[in-house]
């Protein structure tokens, strides 16, 4: 059974913009999938519909056989971790507390009103911090960390909830190349070692080629490529990054030079 089953999903925003025009994708458990596409192609929207941060205007999404609806949101989200471009940590809370927010779906309302956690939760958070190599920063405030470190905290938060799926929405778009490399390596390692299904939105073709099992090319709200990373040749990239029929060959040269 597919871990994530996206069936004919459409999304039209109130302002009339159609971000997704019927996308159907099945993502296998334990796979590493990268979604490529130009800005505005609907990459973020697609990823955000998977854990219900956006509600699709058509089609259905199932995670491990469970349909994502308004009523199942909390349950779905307890199995799906998310990593963001801007990290989305709560600045004023400590690194540890931020990682512990990944455990909130398993905590009672009274306990969390008093910021109380179980010993097991703390241990899980601590393990997650070991995985991302940030144990020494556990009691620092989240906003005192560098971008790369904050993204590691973001990954630790996702890990702490012991998810089946991790969604990463352009996790390296605000980071330098070396840090990007580390973060992508970390996500790849989590996928391989823990068997967590990872879906990543990316802008860098070169990173997609190196880390992905499978690449989904999105353009103008439609899937235009779906296959292995090795199939990303010139013609394919041209199809993915094609904008209103304009030729993008010149930019492609640059992109291929990096790839």
């Amino acid at each position: 059974m597919a871990q994530i089953d996206i069936k004919n999903v459409c999304k039209r925003y109130p302002n009339g913009f159609e971000a997704l025009k019927g996308v159907s994708v099945e993502i296998a458990a334990g796979s590493f999938t990268v979604i490529l596409g130009p800005s505005g192609a609907g990459k973020s929207t697609l990823l955000r519909t998977i854990n219900g941060l956006e509600t699709p205007t058509g089609g259905t999404i199932q995670i491990s056989g469970q349909v994502v609806t308004q009523d199942t949101l909390r349950e779905v989200r307890s199995q799906v971790g998310m990593v963001f471009q801007h990290f989305n940590l709560v600045d004023r809370l400590s690194v540890m507390t931020n990682v512990l927010t990944g455990r909130l779906s398993h905590r009672s309302w009274l306990g969390s009103l008093l910021y109380l956690f179980r010993r097991e939760d703390i241990d899980l958070a601590h393990d997650a911090l070991i995985r991302v190599g940030l144990t020494d920063k556990a009691w620092n405030r989240a906003d005192k960390l560098s971008g790369g470190q904050q993204q590691r905290v973001g990954i630790a938060r996702a890990l702490a909830q012991q998810p089946r799926v991790i969604l990463a929405d352009e996790p390296v778009a605000s980071l330098d190349p070396v840090t990007s490399e580390e973060i992508m390596g970390l996500l790849r390692e989590i996928c391989t070692r823990d068997g967590i299904t990872v879906v990543v939105n990316l802008h860098q073709v070169e990173l997609a080629k190196r880390f992905a099992d499978r690449v989904i090319g999105l353009n103008d709200g439609l899937v235009v490529y779906d296959g292995p990373a090795s199939g990303l040749d010139r013609a394919t990239l041209s199809k993915i990054y094609n904008r209103n029929g304009d030729q993008v060959d010149e930019q492609l040269e640059t992109m291929l030079a990096y790839a």
Partner: protein, 265 residues
């Protein structure tokens, strides 16, 4: 010297229409209201000698025997302030959440809470104190009730506004991991709004101390009764220490809150 023409950063270089219009209307309103409340410079000028006359009355030896009573009444005023502010704080927190657009459980509750808060602060403390004095009798209790009442109106609104400006990205980071409604308020909204909350409480403490100092006017406890009596009886020997003690307490509170706030942020 350069002789380049000066212009505003607008497409045609002329002042922007909206701000200019607002400024013009404001000035017009000022002129109209100044004449309707008889703000008269000549009268103000003629009053200067009388002001000096009043001020010279303040150069008296304080009424030493009154000081212990002053201390007791001042203490009562401070107790009223802290009690009323604390009561209001506990009630304002949930009301503030309900009155914040991005944290309210339902639009209907949002509007209802907003209206309730507006109603509570529509009338000044003194008027509410009159209401409560006639309800529960003289003393500090009606004072505390009146003070809490108005404070909830203000604090709830300030809290709501602090919650409304939190960064939605940080909230999203928590909601994406399956946090419940209440957990979202405690772990995403509250930490972000916290420094603003502290600032609000400190400001309101300051304001409430001054408000509590005049509640005695209507028999609702505190230093206010003595202040008004001294004023009416031209008892400058008491008036001066009362005024000074209010000034000292407000200043101390202000300094303390500055230190406290800086430590927290």
């Amino acid at each position: 010297m350069s002789s380049s023409k000066l212009c505003w950063p607008t497409p045609n270089g002329l002042p922007a229409l909206m701000p200019t219009a607002v400024l013009a209307v404001s000035i017009l309103l000022l002129v109209i209201s100044a004449s309707s409340v008889e703000l008269n410079l000549v009268r103000l000028f003629n009053a200067i000698p009388r002001m000096f006359d009043f001020a010279s009355n303040l150069f008296v030896t304080p009424d030493w025997e009154y000081l212990p009573t002053l201390g007791a009444n001042m203490l009562q005023t401070m107790e009223m302030t802290f009690l009323a502010t604390s009561i209001a704080l506990v009630i304002s927190l949930p009301l503030g959440v309900m009155a914040a657009k991005n944290a309210s459980p339902h639009p209907a509750i949002f509007h209802a809470t907003r209206n309730l808060l507006t109603m509570m602060r529509a009338l000044p403390e003194l008027v509410w104190a009159l209401v409560f004095v006639s309800a529960v009798g003289l003393g500090p209790l009606p004072g505390i009730m009146a003070l809490s009442f108005v404070t909830i109106g203000f604090m709830g609104k300030f809290f709501a506004e602090s919650i409304e400006v939190v960064d939605p990205r940080q909230v999203e980071g928590v909601v994406a991991h399956g946090a419940s409604w209440l957990q979202l308020r405690t772990f995403a909204h509250f930490p972000q709004a916290f420094p603003d909350f502290v600032g609000t409480v400190m400001y309101i403490l300051d304001h409430n101390l001054r408000a509590a100092a005049i509640l005695g006017l209507v028999g609702a406890g505190g230093i206010g009764y003595d202040l008004v009596m001294a004023m009416r009886m031209f008892d400058y020997g008491r008036l001066l220490p009362i005024a000074i003690s209010i000034y000292v307490v407000v200043t101390l509170l202000d300094r303390a809150s500055d230190k406290f706030r800086r430590r927290l942020i």
